[in-house]
Amino acid sequence: MTDSKAQSDALTSIPALLARNVTHFGARTAYREKEFGIWQSWTWAEAAKEIEDLALGLLGLGIRAGDFVAIIGRNRPHFYWTMVAAQSVGAVPVPMYQDANAEEMAYVLGHCGARFAVVDDQEQVDKILEVQDQLPDFEHMIYVDPRGLRKYDHGRLHQFSHIQKMGSAAYDELNPELERRLAQLGYDDICVMLYTSGTTGKPKGVVLSNRNVIESSRNSAAFDNLTENEEILAYLPMAWVGDFIFSIGQAYWCGFCVNCPESPETMPSDLREIGPTYYFAPPRFFETQLTSVMIRMEDAGRFKKWLFDHYMKVARKVGAAILDGRPVPLGKRLSYALGDIFIYGPLKNVLGLSRIRVGYTAGEAIGPEIFEFYRSLGINLKQLYGQTEATVFITQQPDGGVRADTVGIPSPGVEVEIRDNGEVYYRSPGVFVEYYRNPESTASTKDAEGWVATGDAGFFEEGTGHLRIIDRAKDVGKMADGRLFAPKYVENKLKFYPNILEAVVFGAGRDFCTAFINIDLNAVGNWAERNNIAYASYQELAAHPRVYEMIQNHVEEVNRSVAQDEMLSGCQIHRFLILHKELDADDGELTRTRKVRRRIIEEKYADLIAALYDGSKEIFTETEVTYEDGRKGTISATLEIRDARVEPTSAKVAAQ
């Protein structure tokens, strides 16, 4: 064992882990990507060769240690190789959101002063060419897919495979330099820089060191016993810290295989073909998947429907208990085993979740019914709580200690404390180095002892030691009469209804709470079809009286449930309206990770909020929208405002 200890001391960078994986797992598959209908694969040895060729090619283009390399594209092996190739020559990879518009890209590229960008296709090339004039430091762009780019000026534009060929051809001249740079990589050097999407203000560049990434990966891999035999599907944005840790950090630490889907649209069928053993998806994904299962079961024959309902009832009763290893009577176990043959097994297979050993969801609260549904099928779905600044992990749920309403216990090596204002603080080996070129923000987030403010309010549950998150600390406020106002708590309850895609609750400093509702076009559209309700557009469906009626019922149910919590009973929704357009990241209303940007919405829809509070029955409004190609237009609508029934709250709480 001393041998492996000595080895792990030398494993102080991702390229070093790559070298180890080539030695230990050289012939095992490291990457797969579906292309031309076939899963193409690369072993660790082949991947290392691709990375080396690219690193040499980058040296040929004159890359310097400390340069930033922007990476913009969907999940493809090429881009993971680019990250490691950049690290190999001492440069810093900066993965970016590929659906960001040219303006957002210009900000990030300008902020880090990127000299190089490695991008997917013509779409990304065009975006960068559009803003290139604003970027004095920018030099070379490398693209993977040559389609449509043949006639472009190739002075500073290169094809990925050409750069690799160039690098490979110049092996003799450039390799000594590559070796020299590899030898210089240290544990505290920058591993990656990730821009946080930022619910307020401009994105910030979070600098993570090799130490942050490797220690977090090691600890979390040990927590869930991850091995080189795992298979993961890399489909979440590469700019997101989670994808970096799962697809680079843990994959290189453990030596497991990263599978890339053919295209974003084929993801569900690729998932089914790969059958990952370790899997992460945001709550929204599970919601959508469950909604589509339920919609299809509605269309199933009567016998099938009965079988499904019967065995789902069994699963709800004992599934989670069996998964957690709690005692379950033999008869129930037999019944569950039959259900597994008839329903759960085939269903999991269709969903691509048959082989899941460890599954995580995070980012938002997940509806308890959704969470229980997956767990009752025997899928080990757990929750974690994390941040880019923590290199993902703050708390995780251990096997056997999984619940829908908590985010688990502190991850190994992480200390968590709740300060007096209710805000959650943590300290860990994963704590980020700094915000790039932003010492003020760094200082206000991380104190001298290394404690970081999460910005979330929460508390530890007595008895179990599990952490519960209530809301963003800065969003938790007081209403006019001093009652606690936690908008996200209520919004989450609303969003658990499949018909509600998004909700925004207002009430800070006001006498009562009100809400904007976004309907889910899939779910409501399907419902409309079943009920013979005709509609021509999203706007028309959203304004339909029967849709209003349905949403009103949901709101009133939520009010009843909120009323039961003494602390938060003031957050019941008195008045609401259904928005005429979907909140959209292109309009700045959501972040790229689809979190609500409250301030911007408050500004943009000030007229609607005023109407919610002045008692009017309807309001005419005009809204600017941005189309996918960046053009702008306006839509106008007259929105109905409804009053919802609220439950009486106890005077005792209100008086406090």
Binding site: E35, F36, G37, R150, E262, S263
Partner: protein, 279 residues
């Protein structure tokens, strides 16, 4: 951005487009074509040419004879009078499959796909002219048949990738929305690796977004594979943006021929579209 193309020379009979593309010599020359159905003259004495690498549009009001013209090119109709010259040689009256073998592929106005077959299989049928193995070999799946299937599948997969329809590879086309079916049909035509691609109203019935996508694919096909394209289209905006030269037909006669700008300002064309008082 077109600096790289400056050195290339324009071949004889060709020209350079405003966006810097080089158009070659005459690929197909239609001389004095007249087509009659009994007493009805669908096409009367029309001549025009299609040059190597260009996007050529045929426009005209309803009933002008555009689809008949396309059917003459594809060999489905044999004109009573006139000559068709293809690649410098006079083409005798041929069956449509013989024309297809010569490198002419087409799509149809009212989608003509096998509704029960998958996208993949439909596009595979476009490879039929390239398959040499006989029915027996294919039935026992041996030797040449197997090799051919692998080769053809690869071509088809590249087309699927090109048209970005991976997600519907295994979906029966009858279940697909209209816009996607149109795309699959384009895929099948491309599978024949044609020199001349005929598109009969590729954008009929599409919404703006689908039209934009289809336009992009048509331009990319022309750019990437160098395919010559002749298309019929009703959406004037699309025609004027896409095509290099336009033939205008009305009542079976040619009333205009030239670049989109020339055609747009031609009095006869304006009259045909806006109507004039008949004396």
């Amino acid at each position: 951005m077109s600096s790289l193309t400056h050195k290339e020379e324009v071949p004889e009979g060709g020209y350079r487009t405003p966006d810097g593309r080089i158009i070659g010599g005459v690929l197909m020359d239609l001389k004095d074509i007249t087509l009659r159905f009994g007493g009805v003259t669908a096409i009367s004495n029309i001549s025009f040419d299609i040059r190597q690498g260009e996007i050529r549009a045929i426009i005209g009001p309803n009933g002008a004879g555009k689809s008949s013209m396309l059917n003459v090119i594809s060999g489905f109709y044999v004109p009573q009078e006139g000559e068709i010259w293809f690649r410098g040689r006079k083409r005798p009256p041929l069956k449509p499959y013989q024309v297809a073998r010569q490198g002419v592929a087409r799509t149809f106005q009212n989608i003509a796909l096998f509704k029960g077959m998958t996208t993949l299989d439909n596009i595979m049928t476009g490879r039929v002219t390239r398959m040499k193995s006989n029915m027996l070999e294919q039935a026992i799946w041996w030797g040449r048949a197997e090799r051919e299937e692998v080769e053809n599948r690869e071509v088809v997969e590249r087309i699927i990738d090109f048209l970005e329809i991976q997600a519907i590879r295994k979906t029966p086309v009858g279940r697909l929305p209209y816009g996607l079916q149109k795309r699959v049909e384009l895929g099948r035509a491309l599978a024949a690796e044609p020199d001349l691609l005929l598109l009969d109203e590729p954008m009929a019935g599409m919404n703006v977004e689908e039209k934009e996508d289809m336009s992009r694919f048509i331009l990319d096909v022309n750019d990437e594979f160098g395919t010559t394209i002749a298309l019929i289209e009703h959406d004037m905006g699309v025609v004027m943006d896409l095509s290099d030269r336009v033939v205008v037909m009305d009542y079976g006669r040619k009333i205009g021929d030239g670049t989109p700008d020339e055609v747009r300002n031609d009095q006869a064309v304006i009259d045909a579209y806006l109507g004039v008082v008949h004396e």
